[in-house]
């Protein structure tokens, strides 16, 4: 229990740090978003308009402390400012519209990749030196070694353009009205298939090879031989004795991968013109949309922190050596 409280305490502390740094950093940059906006309109704005704008961004004449309090208040009330590029849409609305797409596509692909890769890793280490063990790591590594954007473009070109099996862009067919209908859901799945496949193929080899190597190392441990000698059945030997220990390092990689879900698929979303947060972030950077950039970064930081917290807690469930913070 003490371990859990520790992790949650650490989570809150780092969350605060991330939020505060996100507040300080833009204010340390030369110029201000309002100046940038002012410059963008090339003298068509008056100075009073500039002042008004500064005020609305929360960077007026008030003290830094007052700004910080306003910023925190805005955060909690989902008042994250207005986007520049789609002025005056609130940033929170834009994020709400794009994040579910990203989590749906990248999150689920990552989960599939982790589960399938880890399961395959266990399987081929079991059937050591079998056909799959000899081919799978090499083939999957070849996929990972190819430049991702190239594979993705190739997929769009072959399966989207040439063969016309899958749509080449968007999250769903714009002709269909969104709603909880089978037609809409099928359309989403159809659109997500290609990007998901490229993501899964690109990530699979790390999980396969990682798990396979952990398994082979663990299978050589004395406790596995000892358990084998004492008569434990092969399935229990494989899962409870070997895989249970071999999966621990995988969890760490899993935390990093989950943290990257929000930010990691910028390329995918660009290539497949997918309406996710990665796509939004790239256009926000291109158009100097500070509120959007700031909110996205904060979101990414929070995602990484939350993922780490979850994995930390999971770790303590799986590895008794972690949780002995005086519990016994």
């Amino acid at each position: 229990m003490r371990y859990v409280m520790n992790r949650i305490g650490f989570f809150i502390l780092s969350l605060w740090a991330a939020i505060t740094i996100n507040f300080i950093l833009p204010r340390m940059m030369p110029g201000s978003p309002a100046d940038a906006m002012f410059a963008k309109f090339q003298g068509q704005l008056t100075t009073t308009a500039l002042e008004a704008m500064k005020k609305s961004y929360g960077i007026g004449d008030t003290s830094l402390w007052q700004q910080y309090v306003d910023y925190l208040h805005g955060l909690v009330t989902f008042n994250w400012g207005l986007s520049f590029m789609q002025y005056p849409t609130p940033v929170s609305d834009m994020i709400q519209a794009s994040v579910p797409w990203t989590i749906g596509l990248v999150g689920i692909s990552t989960l599939i990749s982790v589960f399938v890769g880890t399961a395959l890793g266990v399987y081929i280490s079991w059937k050591r030196k079998g056909f799959l063990d000899n081919t799978l790591p090499v083939v999957s590594m070849a996929f990972q070694a190819l430049p991702y954007f190239w594979v993705a473009l190739l997929c769009v070109f072959i399966f989207g353009f040439k063969l016309d099996w899958f749509p080449m862009a968007h999250g769903y067919d714009p002709a269909i009205t969104p709603g909880f209908t089978s037609e809409y859901i099928l359309s989403i799945l159809n659109h997500a298939f290609l990007p998901a496949i490229t993501l899964i193929l690109g990530g699979l080899s790390g999980w396969i090879v990682g798990m396979r190597n952990n398994m082979i190392y663990t299978l050589g441990e004395d406790y596995v031989t000892f358990a084998e000698a004492k008569g434990v059945k092969t399935s229990r030997l494989m899962f409870t004795y070997a895989a249970r220990n071999a999966i621990l390092p995988q969890l760490t990689s899993f935390a990093i991968a989950i943290g990257n879900v929000v930010s990691g698929a910028i390329l995918t979303e660009q290539v497949f013109s997918y309406p996710g947060i990665g796509n939004q972030l790239t256009s926000a950077v291109q158009s100097q949309d500070f509120p959007m950039i700031q909110s996205s970064f904060l979101l990414i930081a929070v995602a990484v922190l939350v993922a780490n917290l979850i994995v930390d807690l999971l770790y303590s469930r799986l590895d008794p050596r972690i949780r002995t913070g005086g519990s016994n």
Partner: protein
């Protein structure tokens, strides 16, 4: 004694490692019988093949090691001709093993109890959980560990306690033979002593046979009644342990080992080591493998492998005793 069935019977056993340099013989043509209620020591330097032999008896050979010759019988049954399922049931119920590294013999993510219950669950399908638990408690009491530790994880126990748990697991099914592969090596001297006393005490009650593998010469000669001395994969001498108190009529290697023991009570301390290093198994010396280090070596030792001589109830594999035997025969 002879008409009794031996618990362990090794007959011309050879074990080789299939390596890129060809078959490397780690165990070479060894024979031995162990009867119930006896402790037999197996001594040798690192790399002399003692652990490999232990694993061969358990049919747990790894790293491309294979039984190349001979038969291994435990309770009259040939271990290496059993199928997988027979072997799984036979192991632990008839023979068990205490591993070299107690620290790593327990699964770090399972409680002690779960690891003991696994033995019962794997061997007795019909045993109730309650009964298995009661037995686990009993085992813990036998090895003098508080049963509350059943709910502990291995990392919460000290090295000595972990080794006791491993011993408890090894005797869980009352096997006839327990192979102990350097069970005290990773422990400090005081803990070593308490573990050895525990082993002796349990053995006295349960009357199983022990093959005690070690490189600690004085420890084995104290514990075991019979000692096999291994050099480069061969038993160069098999003798009763009482004879190890003096250097008369032993293999020169055994003699060297005896001379290397420090005697705390002796007034004048002269300890002599054996010069040289153990041979490389890939490239064994011709004739007697010990000849490059032997002070008595003759031309003949370099070319001809010695045969086993029986002297005073002990088997010595050395040319030196050809002359002795001749003298005996002539007189």
């Amino acid at each position: 004694m002879e008409e009794k069935q031996p618990v362990l019977e090794l007959e011309n056993v050879s074990v080789g490692y299939d390596s890129t340099a060809g078959m490397v013989q780690a165990v070479n043509d060894v024979s031995l019988k162990i009867y119930e209620n006896t402790i037999v020591g197996l001594i040798g330097e690192s790399g002399s093949g003692k652990s490999t032999l232990g694993n061969a008896i358990m049919h747990l050979l790894k790293n491309n090691a294979v039984l190349t010759n001979g038969t291994i019988k435990v309770m009259g049954k040939e271990v290496h001709s059993m199928n997988k399922n027979e072997l799984r049931k036979f192991r632990w119920s008839q023979m068990s093993m205490v591993f070299q590294s107690a620290m790593n013999a327990l699964n770090p993510v399972l409680t002690i109890e779960a690891q003991i219950l696994d033995v019962y669950r794997s061997h007795y399908k019909n045993m109730s959980k309650k009964e298995a638990r009661a037995r686990a408690r009993e085992l813990m009491e036998i090895v003098s560990i508080d049963p509350t530790h059943l709910n502990s994880y291995p990392h919460e126990l000290s090295g000595g306690m972990r080794q006791r748990v491993v011993i408890a697991i090894a005797i869980a099914l009352d096997p006839k033979l327990v192979i102990m592969d350097e069970p005290t090596t990773a422990l400090d001297v005081v803990v070593q002593r308490s573990i050895l006393d525990k082993i002796k005490q349990i053995q006295k009650v349960k009357k199983f046979a022990i093959l005690f593998i070690s490189h600690d010469f004085s420890l084995v000669s104290e514990l075991a009644s019979k000692v096999a001395i291994m050099y480069a994969g061969r038993f160069i001498e098999v003798t009763d342990s009482k004879s190890l108190s003096h250097t008369d009529q032993h293999h020169p290697y055994t003699e060297g080992l005896i001379n290397a023991i420090p005697h705390l009570t002796a007034e004048e301390v002269t300890i002599t080591g054996i010069p040289g290093n153990p041979p490389n198994l890939v490239d064994l010396p011709s004739g007697c493998a010990y000849h490059p280090r032997c002070q008595f070596a003759t031309e003949r030792c370099k070319t001809e492998r010695p045969v086993v001589h029986q002297i005073d109830n002990r088997d010595v594999e050395c040319h030196l005793y050809d002359a002795v035997r001749k003298e005996v025969l002539e007189s």
